[in-house]
Amino acid sequence: MNPQLAFLIGLFIVIVALVLTRRQWAPAAVHAVPSVWRIAKITVAEARRRRVIQAVVILVVLILISMTFFSYLSPQEQSRMLISGGLAAITVFGILLAIFIAAFLIPQELESRTVYAILAKPVRRFEFVLGKYVGALIILAAIVATMTVVLVGVLMLQDSLVQDLPDSAFNPNLKGVVFAAIMNYFAIAVLTGLIILISTVASTTMTVISAFIIWAVGSLQSTISDLAAHAELPVTKALLTVVYLIVPKLENFDFRNEVSNFVPISYGTGWEAVIQGIGYTAVVLILASIFFNDRQV
């Protein structure tokens, strides 16, 4: 394992141990778990009743099913199209739903004042932020899982229907598809954390706009680093370099290309990205709690 990553994991373990062993912090940490869970549950229950989310998921399922209509292509091409298109749909809609769910979580509570009834109870502000985040994670996990199951089902169905040619075979690459979907979920989790951080200080509209910008920049990291390398003005160069370094590299979680082209996947790199993503998200949520702690509601 890379020494930098090992150092960060060690630091994280030390911080957690410190929190749990300090007498005044341990009870707070213990109290936090059920509070966070309760708020997460109500967040999930609320989202389940929102028709919009259900409608989008149904739309994606229909899109995935409609991708099977490329029968004039060779089996190899069909499998590639289905995998790349299916994973693209899961990525796009997963991120869109993540943005619209996460951006409205806290600002919506503040605007509708439903937060008063909660914060007037013995609920700490960081428990509220964390509970909202965990709730969002659960909702998004369900959404991504649903879409992935449908895609896997479609691939398996197509595999059984398509007759392989001698020089071209339908390859569903199910293991790769599931891995790519899981990695995509972690990218969404990182992005959601960042959106919640922004939402603790900004309005809903600003949060949504910022989220889209972060997604766009996070998906085009290489282009930005290239532009930074070729920039003529030092100001532009500095700005682009800062943007490249600060915005989370969501591309690290992107395995769609490998899976679509049946290229061997470097699983190790993926899991490294997950570990640093967890660290990144933890830090972001701590910052969000700090900001929300001082926020006058």
């Binding site: 091409e77 766009a216 282009t223 590299k249 679509s260 470097s266 830090v283």
Partner: protein
Amino acid sequence: MSSGRSRKLILGFLMVGILLMLVPVQDRIHRARPQVFDPDRKIKRVSAISVGPTPAVIAALGGFRTVAADLLWLKAERVWDGGSWWAMLPILDAVTELDPQFVLAWQVYGWHAAYNLHAESETIVDKRYWLDRGVTILEKAVEANPDNWEMIFELGWTLYDRAHEPWRASEYFYRADQFPGAKSYVSRLYYRCFEGVLDFERLFPALEYAKGRHTDPNVSDDVQHQVIANRDYDWWVQHKDDPQEHRRQIVLENTKRAERSVPFYLYPDDPYWQVCPICGLPSPKGSDVCSVCGAPVKQLSERAGRPSPASIPPDRTEL
């Protein structure tokens, strides 16, 4: 400043510090992923997608280059069906720029240039150009997919079958054969490169090598490979010094060329072959006599650093 506030500030700075420490970690992971980190190609990619339909452009800009490549590939299919072979080129170029791991696209692109457009060309210069271009495309493909044996094989095959550069081809066949998934015919083509030019110095080691590959008696493909490789080995051991056989081999080689519609007037520029003014058939460069008819041949320019083919046995005088 209250202790609470200062605590918050310290915590905040600590968090920002950790975030900054995570930056090089993220960067390192990013650079370890050639699939996503490819700064040199990105700018070219943006211009390449201008040939595509709007959804492809949007997809490419949004970071969905695989989907954009798929959409352009479908467009290429439509153009192919429409018969506009020349129009396919920029589309295939865009597809391979967007998704360099799309092996099928590279295969079609390289083949399209080296075979179809070569055949469609009317002048030697044009034919040579398309052949060279096809080889260049496939070289780029191998550079982008160094671990894909099919891609390496494709380049080797084009060099062997179309460009008639058996020694270069043999290098690629050998390289492709090192991958675990390589089919048995790759190792056989490796030695066939040397058969055609009667390079016995390399042929026998290649035959030994091919015999040592694919030895699993439970796999029917391996069994067949062993049969063919051993048969060829025994044949060449028996006929190594047989001039009749040599001539037959060269005629066979030339016939194959004829069957593939490779015009012999290609050969004035060919680095390995020279055309005999008497019989009009090609024979390997480096020898003073035609390997087919035995007539003396004027030496044409020789490619530096390339091995000369085995000389023809001196007692062959008749056709």
